[in-house]
């Protein structure tokens, strides 16, 4: 069977799935640019009379999209930084040291990685009440950092293992202390790994829904997923062209970055570092 014939068969097999995958993207774009009075036409149709770029401007000013964007950025960046600051030493220890309880610690990480926020959400809410952090974005920062830490430690550790020990040993022989060799030799080599891990943590925080829905009570503190959800849920009239315009702005940049970096995820996934 030649390659061309094979390619045609494969694409025919893949096409139903491709259509279903691309369908929501079509819905998103077609609705985001549609004039408001053409949302509910009968019979329903894909086509519309003109592109309304103004939907985006109108949505931005009417729905506090900018505020939610800033909240999401703050939470995701802060959670990522904290997760990395806690993970780098732990991953380094796992990669370079033998110590009592190492196996136990690794199992503990695997278990925490699998813990889902929704199962603990009531306990977490009560914890945040006690800490006085309800309706405070920092409640999300701490919880995201804690929940994604196991993933970042696994990812970083698997990358750290690929950095040869000889380089640090050479630095020690040249009289560097463990600390200087760590800062001047090891960490610069680990920068790419840290960037990739940071981006994945950022995306996970950016997309999180359940905890943000629970901890944040007032609309000016909403993160993007909750802000968009709140425009849909429990409303008699939903401004779908605004909702879809917001969805386009909130997802497309992240989707592009993710598609580009997804191969690194496959590499780092070797041992349970997933999602």
């Amino acid at each position: 069977m030649n390659k061309l014939k094979k390619s045609i068969i494969y694409w025919v097999l893949l096409s139903p799935l491709a259509v279903v995958i691309l369908f929501p993207f079509g819905v998103m774009f077609v609705t985001a640019f549609r004039p408001r009075d053409e949302l509910f036409v009968y019979p329903p149709t894909w086509t519309f009379s003109r592109f309304v770029w103004g939907n985006f401007v109108e949505m931005w000013s009417k729905t506090n999209f900018g505020g939610a964007l800033v909240n999401s950025l703050y939470v995701s960046v802060a959670a990522t930084v904290i997760a990395l600051v806690f993970s780098i030493p732990a991953a380094y220890a796992l990669s370079r040291h033998r110590f009592a309880g190492k196996g136990l610690y690794r199992q503990f990480l695997l278990v925490t990685q699998m813990m889902s926020p929704i199962v603990l959400v009531l306990g977490l809410f009560r914890l945040m009440v006690q800490m006085g952090l309800v309706n405070n974005l920092n409640s999300l920062v701490i919880t995201y950092a804690a929940f994604y830490m196991a993933f970042t430690i696994w990812m970083l550790q698997s990358y750290f293992n690929t950095i040869p020990k000889d380089l640090e040993e050479a630095a020690w022989i040249d009289g560097a202390t463990h600390f200087t060799s760590l800062v001047k030799v090891f960490l610069p080599l680990a920068v790419p790994a840290m960037v990739v891990t940071a981006i994945f943590t950022f995306i996970n925080s950016w997309n999180e829904f359940v905890l943000a829905l629970t901890m944040i009570r007032s609309s000016d503190q909403y993160t993007l997923p909750v802000q968009i959800y709140s425009q849909v849920a429990g409303r008699y009239q939903v401004e779908w062209h605004h909702v879809m315009a917001a969805t386009v702005l909130a997802t497309v940049p992240v989707a592009i970055v993710f598609s580009w970096l997804q191969r690194y995820l496959i590499r780092g996934m070797a041992l349970g570092a997933v999602k």
Binding site: S7, P89, L120, L122, G123, A146, H178, N207
Partner: protein
Amino acid sequence: MKALLRSTPLYMILPSLALALLIIGYPIVDLAWTSMQEVSRFGQMRGFNGIENYADVFNDPLFYGSLWRTVIWTVAVVAGTLIVSLPIAIILNDDFYGRGLARVIVMLPWAISLTMTAVVWRWGLNGRAGLLNATLMDLHIIAEPIEWLATAPLAFTVEILVGILVSIPFTTTIFLGGLSSLPQDAYEASTVDGATGWDQFRFITLPLMKPFINIAVVLNVIYVFNSLPIIWVMTEGGPANGTDILVTYLYKLAFRFGAIGKAAAISLIMFFVLFVFTTIYVLMVMRAEQGEQEDKALEEEDEVETTLSHVTAILERAR
């Protein structure tokens, strides 16, 4: 002291351990404690009431309904995902025109948050103006628009299909990792012996992929059975609790109806289910790691053997 610090890098581990214990450990303890308290609507503890909350849960028909739907939801989504993902992975692992594009398309749902996906589908499935109805009417498959989310059985079926769609990228990724590790010579040898593609799939691919399939099953079960956003955004468990699974029911009890004690009891039950599956997963990872180490040992033995046979060959030639 300094020597101790150097030999046991506890100070590197402790911060992460402390954070995890506070945010993940403490809520579990709190839930266990709350589940045995009588709690008022406003969260005030009125004292110990033993297993009353649990008795309450097990006498609740809505709990059994949600439990049953959780089983259907999990089994249907995981099974559907596996059946679709394995052929997709086999295709994507092969060389063909446009493979890069195909990979990007298959992985796309992973790049978008579940919440956004569910919001878009909720609009796409709109009973009046939804574009799914538009497409099906254009193709003359249906004559009238269908209210996809208005009746529970249909809505739940649609949600399962969306659940499968968003689980495909992750599962395909695991399978691609597995497929790339399969030995090529086994396929070549079997082709020489006259095996068909189907024979190769049944007797080589499937058995060798078994560990990866197992991992995919366990991880998907963990992710799917406590996944809230799709059902919550598309139908909020409605109409009339008809699409409620345990997590949506738990969320309503805790944050809508103020049944804190009962919600804590359900949380704890779910935690134990989750813990059982997580333990299975941890055991699988540990076994895989051991296997890797044994493989390494075997490879070293192989090297010794090849060297030995090499030496014997030289000796034979000399003789």
